[in-house]
């Protein structure tokens, strides 16, 4: 177990596939085989074995958490699971495969380094497989594994495996953001190629699924190129008894991109005021530099007006700043989206009013082609929209930075989260000389 001296990274992944493709079984298998299951969990599985029929332990029961789901025998929401090997810790988002639950996959995948798309070897590539691969691309998941499951039911046929691989590879070029896609033949039920390599697939050269999860390179999954610090909370102790604390004015937040150094010149947006980083303050002492996604508190040389929702950026690699934006959205609510509707939009640490001025297209999930001018987007639709915000957003294209390129829409009144949005790249960037006259 991981309390050795070398640092252990966290890898976050999600599993997706249609109902009965074996997602729950696969996660159960990973937990079971990596010895992350405890006696009482196994005991609870045995106790509930007769609910699902058959006296045998049902690995899927481990992740089908809620009673409503057990009664219906389906997974209906995103569940998170944790396991560890001596090399890595894993956070698993178990996302269900029903057509109507695309929003759950978007939720589970949004924080993932890697997506596992399960394909039932008997059924081959179906609409759901295409949809899930497309969503992985849409969300910019850096790594994808196509796990061809139930290989035991197709006699471990290499031909069948290659057929499925070819079919998926034929549409990958249209999803060109997917640069790291791996195909692995498995049997989740029996454990073949999940943790140990299978003797049934001598034709497969490559790692087991867990072997891949343990070694895939994730260090560069964060954007380290442009400094972005969305100001989250202004830290003002206002202590009248301590002179130094009385004047302390820190800008707290989690770095959403890049690296910040003491002495670096920075710009605060939207004001455009410039200053220099005086201190990088943390509870554990001051740092000389900090990087994404660390949480820090910056102290600037100048006492300029900065508040929550502002963004501190470096002078090279500047973001866009506008209130007329284009974005892809995944619609997540029963009430459809129509042009003209108003919402709250939360982007980084800023919440602003917004109006959807146009729905440009709706993606046909079969062909991945956009269909122009739909009248509305309904639940689970993906499409491109135009929006106008009450205040400009300081942002990057989602493809460049997932943290400064994403937003959610919130329905006014119910406060429901109704959409996940991914901003298209800005057509114009803030100029370094912006507001030079101010200081």
């Amino acid at each position: 177990m991981p309390h050795s001296s070398h640092p252990i990274e966290i890898l976050r992944f999600n599993t997706c596939g249609s109902v009965d493709d074996g997602k729950s079984t696969l996660i159960g298998r990973l937990l079971y085989d990596s010895k992350s299951l405890m006696e009482d969990q196994i005991e609870a599985l045995e106790r509930s074995a007769d609910i699902t029929g058959g006296g045998q332990i049902n690995l899927a029961n481990l992740t089908d958490g809620l009673r409503a789901e057990r009664e219906q025998g389906i997974t209906i929401d995103v569940a998170y699971r944790y396991f560890a090997t001596p090399r890595r810790k894993f956070i698993v988002a178990d996302t269900p495969g029903h057509v109507q639950y695309t929003r759950n996959m978007v939720t589970g995948a949004s924080t993932a380094n890697l997506s596992i798309v399960l394909v039932d070897a008997r059924n081959g590539v179906i609409e759901q497989s295409r949809r899930h691969t497309f969503i992985a691309a849409l969300l910019g998941i850096p790594h994808v594994v196509i796990a061809v499951n139930k290989m035991d039911l197709v006699d471990w046929s290499e031909e069948r495996f290659l057929e499925i691989r070819d079919e998926i590879e034929s549409f990958l070029p249209r999803l060109d953001v997917l640069r790291d896609v791996k195909f692995i033949p498995i049997s989740a039920l029996n454990g073949d190629n999940v943790v140990e390599m299978s003797k049934h697939t001598p034709w497969y050269v490559g790692p087991s699924l867990l072997g891949h999860l343990e070694t895939v390179h994730i260090a560069s999954d964060w954007n380290m190129s442009g400094l972005r610090l969305p100001v989250q909370w202004v830290n003002r102790p206002n202590d009248p008894t301590d002179k130094q604390l009385h004047d302390f004015r820190g800008l707290s937040g989690q770095l959403a991109g890049g690296i910040v150094k003491v002495g670096q010149k920075v710009m605060v947006l939207p004001s455009g005021l410039k200053s220099t980083v005086k201190e990088i303050w943390t509870y554990d002492g001051q740092l000389q530099e900090a990087f994404c996604p660390q949480s820090i508190t910056l102290v600037l040389e100048h006492d300029i007006d900065v508040s929550r929702g502002d963004m501190i950026v470096g002078l090279d690699n500047l973001p866009g700043m506008t209130s007329e934006l284009r974005a892809r959205v995944c619609w997540m609510n029963q009430r459809p989206l129509q042009a003209g509707r108003k919402y709250f939009l939360k982007h980084t640490t800023q919440t602003v009013q917004t109006v959807v001025t146009a729905i440009e297209d709706r993606i046909n999930i079969q062909t991945f082609e956009p269909e122009p001018d739909p009248t509305e987007l309904v639940m689970n639709d993906i499409g491109e929209i135009r929006i106008r915000t009450a205040k400009p957003l300081i942002f990057d294209g989602y493809g460049v930075n997932r943290l400064t390129g994403s937003f959610i829409l919130i329905e006014q009144g119910t406060n429901a989260t109704v959409a996940a949005g991914m901003l298209l790249p800005p057509s114009e960037l803030v100029k370094p000389e912006y507001n030079d006259f101010a200081i």
Partner: protein, 300 residues
């Protein structure tokens, strides 16, 4: 590039600090649930990391069932004072007297009665958010819990109607009377908690470490013998070397036999353990859906 790199505890820490600061910025009247248990001890350290050098901008709230381990309450009071925080304690006993919590005849456990007591405290102080130390790895029903978990005007959780939670963009909006439960440790495991306690050199109540105690065997567990839980004649009573792994009420917390004397010992024990921490709590055993039912009504 390789030096710009967080290990697993640093990753979990920065995620939790971000969540804490969102709470401070988005809510008007947040509170932090602090019991003195290991998870909430980590919460307090994370609050220091999120808000220092300022004061922690929210009071600490604890529901005292009257069945707490005395060591736990002592520790709770001392730690809150050390941090200069305001500690609010609301007692199940008082809620029973006021008719807010009504025990069913013969009900000894205070577990269910915590719920109305907590909800009354939330109403009393008009808290719009409570930060709690729950982790998703604790129990199956918790595995689907959000970081920001919405509660309606009755304090209820509706697992079928949760807000999707995407990226790190937390929807913190609530209408008057509704509130949010926020769980910064959602992604932490029991091991992470102990590793963090070790790295941060955090003090924990002594009952987490090995000590000698008179225990009585009930439902396959060793429960501490106290005035509230006197042994019956037929009971098997033993003096054992034990510690607690998770702290519930003194009448339902199973003591595990253990020589673990230090945080390192505990980490080694968890690494080798074959039972999850909630396996030692009688309140969850009743049925597999026990936790889920309590959560729907407004349990932590």
């Amino acid at each position: 590039m390789s030096s710009y790199h967080l290990d697993h505890l640093q990753y979990l820490e920065t995620e939790a600090i971000h969540v804490m600061r969102e709470v401070a910025a988005e809510f008007e009247r947040p509170a932090l649930l602090f019991s003195g248990g290991k998870d909430s001890i980590c919460l307090l350290r994370l609050a220091e990391k999120a808000f220092r050098p300022s004061d922690i901008p929210m009071p600490f709230l604890n529901v005292d069932t009257g069945h707490h381990f005395p060591e736990l309450n002592d520790f709770r009071d001392r730690r809150a004072a050390q941090l200069g925080g305001k500690l609010i304690v609301r007692k199940v006993e008082d809620a029973i007297k006021a008719g807010i919590a009504v025990p069913t005849p013969g009900e000894i456990s205070r577990n269910r009665l915590q719920i109305p007591t907590l909800l009354a405290a939330i109403e009393e102080f008009r808290f719009d958010c409570c930060i709690g130390g729950a982790r998703r790895d604790e129990e199956k029903a918790r595995a689907k819990e959000r970081f920001f978990s919405f509660r309606d005007a009755f304090g209820q959780w509706d697992p079928k109607n949760q807000r999707p939670e995407i990226w790190n963009l937390y929807n913190a909006r609530v209408n008057p009377g509704e509130h949010m439960r926020v769980f910064p440790l959602s992604n932490w495991t029991e091991m992470d908690v102990w590793e963090y306690i070790k790295r941060e050199k955090l003090e924990v109540p002594t009952i987490y470490f090995s000590h000698t105690r008179k225990c009585v065997r009930r439902n396959g567990q060793w429960l501490p013998v106290t005035d509230i839980l006197p042994p019956k004649p037929a009971d098997q009573v033993k003096e054992l070397v034990v510690r607690v792994r998770t702290i519930g009420d003194i009448i339902s917390t199973g003591m595990v036999e253990s020589p673990a004397n230090t945080v390192d010992d505990i980490i080694a024990e968890i690494a080798a353990a074959r039972v999850t921490e909630r396996g030692s709590r009688a309140d969850d055993k009743t049925s597999e859906a026990a936790m889920e039912d309590r959560k729907k009504q407004g349990y932590f």
